[in-house]
């Protein structure tokens, strides 16, 4: 053996015993993959119709974000005086710099979207029931980390958009009684956004949050193994035959995943070549642009803020929604239908009805509140008139809706909870759309154009 061959042999190692004695180099890949994947998976778990490969897409986007972010770190300067200039420099002087920046920005937004759609798929296929309850909680933590990563990254260009978006988002904390203002000053490193804020956000965005994400994603995957894989898709009322028909992970699952991954990469590259990441003028604490908007992923909360007292918009409502999401897997479900899209045939109809109702009632509520607001502008909002009373009205509508689904449609508790979730999600998406496209100068309602 030549020295080169001996060195190669040492790198290759003796390796695990496999029944393929061939010299096919793919066997190394297979051996590697099988360290954290099972050898076989149920045939019904690998198709697009169950997962839409949204978890895979999220994983790929996370990897792309880490790689492109590491590249950006070589050019970006996290100081209030230099940050903006360094972003301009990336866009104008660095070869492929603008492409890299676009890739990072659009991948970040795309991860928000795929992770959220993945959450919906997990919910509507009943994949959050036991033994996967805790993985739903881990998933929520991942969603929170993805949101925080997008938020902290939003500030880094230090332009007018980012400066004011962070100003109004963090000012929300002032309305949280007691700990709110100290917490805000801790996050900002002072009473208002400044150089310390940029440094804080940079440390969070480039070290603490990505590390936590990677750690938690690995935990997420491990819990999937612990639950003996993901759910098995079945039709409503279908009983699964045992043993389940299985296929080998390599190549059946892995090639599909690789195809999905390549599609995601291609889509992000195509998007980044056609659309530039936004950059306004350098941040100017003396002038808020009109309109100043929160980042689009907080637009739902911003829209609630237009109507309700901030104590309710910023604290009570988000806290209620979070509590609902956290409790979901632990409610006493009377008809947990794991692996069935929307649980049952009736489930599909109630979900559709709930989505439409949520959208229409929200749009109606916004118009109603706008009419009341413009009629009464005399006195400043109070917690009672602009907080508690409208909040109780909303609670009454939501509770009435839940009772109606349960009584009129004779739905099971699981179906009614599913309808409630759909109603709230639809309402939130409607608010996000209104805030993003139907609010113009002075935050007036306008037609998009």
């Amino acid at each position: 053996m030549s020295t080169l061959q001996r060195v190669w042999a040492s790198i290759r190692g003796s390796g695990p015993v496999t029944n393929s004695s061939s010299n096919d180099p793919r066997k190394y890949l297979r051996n590697f993959l099988l360290h954290f994947r099972p050898a076989e998976v149920p045939e019904r778990s690998i198709g697009f119709a169950l997962t839409a490969y949204l978890g895979v897409a999220s994983t790929v986007l996370l990897v792309m974000l880490i790689l492109s972010g590491l590249m950006l770190k070589f050019v970006y300067e996290p100081s209030a005086t230099h940050a903006y200039a360094s972003i301009v420099y990336i866009g104008s002087e660095v070869p492929f710099g603008q492409l890299l920046r676009n890739l990072h920005r659009w991948s970040g937004y795309a991860l928000l979207v795929t992770a959220f759609l993945h959450l919906l798929r997990v919910f509507y296929t009943g994949a959050f029931h036991g033994p996967r309850q805790f993985n739903w909680i881990i998933g929520l933590a991942l969603m929170a980390l993805v949101l925080l990563s997008n938020f902290t990254g939003y500030l880094l260009p230090w332009d007018q958009i980012s400066y004011w978006a962070v100003t109004i988002s963090t000012s929300l904390l002032d309305y949280v009684p007691g700990i709110g203002t100290p917490l805000k000053e801790l996050i900002l490193g002072g009473p208002e956004p400044g150089p310390a804020t940029l440094l804080n956000f940079y440390a969070l965005h480039t070290a603490i949050l990505p590390l936590s994400l990677v750690f938690l994603v690995l935990f997420h995957f491990w819990r999937i193994r612990m639950a003996h894989g993901i759910v098995v898709r079945r039709a409503p009322d279908e009983r699964l035959t045992s043993p389940l028909p299985m296929v080998r992970t390599v190549p059946h699952l892995v090639t599909r995943e690789a195809a999905a991954a390549l599609l995601v990469v291609a889509a992000m590259l195509a998007l980044s070549m056609t659309l530039d990441a936004p950059l306004a003028e350098q941040a100017n604490p003396g002038m808020s642009p009109n309109p100043t908007k929160a980042p689009w992923f907080f637009m739902g909360i911003q829209e609630i803020l237009m109507h309700l007292h901030p104590l309710f918009a910023a604290l009570v409502i988000p806290a209620c929604l979070l509590a609902f999401l956290l409790c979901l897997p632990y409610l006493r479900h009377d008809a947990p239908a794991t692996g069935v899209w929307f649980g049952s045939k009736r489930g599909r109809r109630t979900v559709l009805a709930a989505a439409i109702a949520g959208c229409l009632l929200t749009a109606g509520g916004v118009l109603l509140s706008e009419a009341v607001l413009s009629a009464d502008t005399a006195s400043p909002p109070t917690v009672l008139r602009n907080g508690l009373i409208p909040f109780l009205a909303i609670v009454a509508v939501v509770a009435g809706f839940y009772a109606m689904i349960k009584k009129a449609l004779d739905a099971s508790k699981s179906e009614a909870v599913q309808a409630l979730f759909t109603f709230l999600t639809s309402a939130f998406l409607t608010l996000t759309l209104i805030g993003t496209w139907f609010r113009g100068a002075g935050m007036q309602l306008v037609w998009p154009g």
């Binding site: 100003t167 000012s171 929300l172 490193g189 310390a196 502008t377 400043p380 909002p381 935050m443």
Partner: protein
């Protein structure tokens, strides 16, 4: 039997000890981190020696006028009756900077359309409180504004304005 009980209790005790020691070291690390982050506040804080700003002589401000001071981040408003108010330029809703719109004689926030009168009172929601005030002194016909002293308030009261003759 008695032996076993003793053993279990010793084990429980030692386990509790471990948990306690662990919690203690976590608390220490938390303390270290908070100490570590502390000095940055001073490094980034604005120089407090500049907190008192000489705005100019009393006669330089017409009644019913509003003058912006960029360095101190406030507006000096002179009411129609001659009183002075130093208003924070930060909207009490969510912290945007409110410009004075001279045509309409009111402050209008570009962010969520709150409006404030010349004395800082809310004319249009969603802002819940009047604009914050800074302390004003009038010495030798000069208006001095102390931007280190900020007062939060709900609405306007006559006593908040400072008058040249009476100070």
């Amino acid at each position: 039997m008695a032996m076993q009980e003793k053993k279990t209790s010793r084990r429980t005790f030692l386990n509790a000890l471990w948990v306690g020691v662990g919690a203690l070291s976590l608390a220490e690390i938390g303390f270290l981190i908070s100490r570590f982050l502390k000095p940055r506040e001073q490094r980034f804080a604005e120089n407090t020696a500049d907190a008192v700003i000489a705005a100019g002589s009393v006669d330089a401000f017409d009644p019913g006028s509003v003058t912006a001071f960029v360095r101190g981040k406030f507006y000096l408003a002179r009411l129609d009756n001659g009183g002075f108010l130093a208003l924070s330029r930060t909207c009490t809703h969510l912290g945007c900077t409110v410009p004075w719109v001279d045509d309409e004689k009111r402050f209008v926030c570009p962010c969520h359309a709150s409006a404030f009168s010349i004395n800082g009172e809310v004319l249009a929601p969603p802002a819940p409180r009047a604009l914050d005030l800074f302390d004003i002194r009038i010495e030798n016909g000069q208006v001095l504004v102390d931007t280190g002293k900020r007062t939060k308030r709900v609405g306007f009261e006559a006593a908040q304005a400072v008058y040249p003759g009476r100070a």
